[in-house]
Assembly symmetry: C2
Homo-oligomer: 416 residues x 2
């Protein structure tokens, strides 16, 4: 069988299974999520054995240790995956929520209610915990899910999905609501991207290359996630203690994630006072600064090029520049930001107001670290990714973002 | 210049203009909308002269009279276009609406607020009134718009856009928020579909062929609109007087539009009583019935094929079938519906509940004509189209559907 035929076959089964899942009650879905969590722990040996195969293969291939660390599962990490499923069970069911409703002038009752998409395709890299997270969030939001992880995690993902499917079936739901996309080749990814009509939405999670290729080649609607070239702009009217703390936190709290700061902009009026402090604080934390001329005067600062302004380092590096005014900061952000998260540090209400209005990003922060752009921090309880597109969802996506809506109109023989 | 260069140039100008429009106040936008309405009437002669050229060309080309009627503008129709702009001015501004907001446990203030998309591309057919409607809705929702009407209406559209741009400029806004896409060839449509990054969303309005080609070829995100193969299912527990009235209204009130009924399903238990009545009522109204064996027993009913179940006639034709039960009706709708609007006629609460839950369409109606799926009828005040996709917007799209959102987070030196 070709990859296309295989993929369309699993997608078709997912489509059929999604119909009964869409009608499942919250109680049924929550019981299933708890059963999935129990099964992950009860059958930890199988999952860890599968994972050990992936780790051994990666080591034999000379994979760098930090990537192997992401790939590796432990009893603790399995416990975390199980807890994640239980947390999703604790969240409100988005399906059936009435988004708006009214009685029209002619007496028709109008309601807009949340319904599942149907079938969601996830294309993701590295971490096998995404497999359980995505299965849980999709199940709770009433969607069947087709999972296409990276081939480096194939044994882990196969083991996890086998365990989850058994738990789903034992709970009385159709196990085809959770399926792996068969095949390891790029052909199977391509087939998934072309399964318009069978798959309702594709969510790629991973590096910029993966996301761009899905966005360009997919005929299935895509929700673009995650590339973050995030800025912190320290305004003329900034409290410099807050500024140093925010820059340091935004850059170093966890540098490998999309909401870490990658660029620092400083208003010229505070440069003389701020630069020595912020350079010292960053360098002490092990950060390499790629700076403009003003920054390059400090020991250890590398000279920045346009490439640095564009860069999502995902490492302990930061681009840094002094700007003459707020307008120049806004212009820099307009030119280089990826539209994920940008922050201003200022005590000036007018500057904050302009920054919030004019920066066109999924999240715009005042006097807070970029690291707060996160479904957990925002109180959504679970997050399938952070959308950087404007259609459908923008910013952290929780359960409601995993649904569509339908209009329900009740009359009593109404005609026009 | 190639079409691509030309289109990218206007899109770039629209992008720049969209930035100031996004910051315009409601008062500024409403004053501009009234100025646009005034200008349409004050310069009616220019517009009617442009339209006369299009009509003359269409007549010389042997265009059918009903298409020419759609193309033709009159003083009355211009008055309607102007009134449409004034109506949009009267609607609430979606920009800045707080969709949700809270204070997080750590004291961060979180708000999700509506913001414009930026630049919207409209690709549409025939009627020149869409040019003014789309310009008004986009302006009010803070979006610059690139208009690509059909070449048969090119002189009308050029005249309308020239008048509207002058009015926008006289009101103090950048006239590049309303622009025609240059060029008449398909190359310019293609360039618009590939202007990802410059154009935020494309909305095709027209026949199934146009919409499919945009959906397949566009790298810019698309909101799919309008194809309607709408069903009316008359249940065993239907009130047959209501059923006849609803079927007749859904089919004949205006047969050329997407929310007209195209298929009739009748429960076998009421077929004997209903069929003679509904066949007589439809035929009296000039409707041609394409029926299954049960319907084909009546004089003048044509035998239906699978093509009829799939058909969006947009004419005084209807496909008709007797089904053994509700399950068969649901299965027929699942197989053939375009997911626009489907209606059940029943007095049985259980049947209504199942139909509403299981029919996966943008609008599901109980005891009401399919003709109610409409932005005006739903009380939205203005409608840019009816989305039949699940991402972003589903069903009639008013002003809020023409926006994205952004998260605004206010702290006081918050770090993680």
């Amino acid at each position: 069988m070709t990859a296309e035929v295989e993929v369309r076959e699993v997608a078709q089964r997912a489509r059929v299974a999604s119909r009964s899942l869409a009608l499942a009650t919250r109680a049924e879905k929550d019981a299933t999520l708890h059963a999935m969590a129990d099964a992950l722990l009860a059958r930890a040996d199988e999952i860890l054995a599968g994972n050990a195969e992936d780790v051994a293969r990666a080591e034999a291939d000379g994979t760098p240790p930090n990537i192997i660390d992401r790939l590796r599962l432990t009893a603790d990490r399995l416990e975390g995956m199980a807890q994640g499923l239980r947390d999703v069970a604790g969240l409100a069911d988005p399906v059936g929520e009435v988004v708006r409703g009214s009685i029209l002038a002619n007496g028709l009752e109008l309601r807009q209610v949340r319904v599942p998409f149907g079938v969601v395709g996830m294309i993701y890299e590295a971490r096998p915990n995404v497999t359980a997270d995505a299965a849980g969030i999709c199940l709770k939001s009433g969607n069947a899910v087709l999972l296409r992880g990276s081939s480096s995690a194939r044994s882990s993902n196969a083991a996890i999905v086998a365990v989850l499917r058994d738990a789903v079936a034992a709970s009385g739901l159709d196990p085809d609501v959770v399926q792996l996309v068969p095949g390891d080749s790029h052909d199977s990814v391509k087939a998934l991207m072309r399964a318009r009509g069978l798959v309702d939405v594709l969510i790629p999670r991973g590096g910029a290359g993966l996301i761009q290729s899905v966005v360009n080649d997919s005929t299935v609607p895509v929700i673009e996630t995650g590339v973050g070239n995030c800025h912190v702009y320290v305004d003329r009217a900034a409290d410099l203690d807050k500024a140093v703390a925010i820059v340091l936190n935004a850059k170093t709290h966890r540098s490998s994630v999309c909401n870490a700061a990658e660029s620092l902009l400083v208003h010229a009026d505070v440069a003389e006072e701020l630069l020595p402090r912020v350079v010292a604080a960053l360098q002490e934390a092990g950060v390499t600064i790629h700076g403009d001329d003003a920054f390059a005067g400090y020991d250890g600062v590398l000279a920045a090029t346009d490439e640095d302004w564009a860069q999502e380092y995902l490492s302990l590096d930061i681009a840094a520049r002094v700007v003459p005014d707020l307008d120049a900061a806004l212009e820099h952000i307009r030119t280089w930001s990826s539209g994920h998260t940008d922050a201003i540090v200022t005590e000036d209400q007018g500057a904050a107001r302009r920054f919030v209005a004019e920066v066109d990003s999924a999240a715009v922060l005042v006097n807070a670290s970029t690291r707060f752009t996160d479904g957990g921090e925002f109180g959504f309880g679970a997050e399938i990714g952070i959308s950087t597109q404007k259609l459908h969802a923008r910013g952290p996506m929780g359960l409601p973002e995993m649904t569509s809506t339908k209009y329900v109109v009740i009359g009593d023989g109404h005609v026009r």
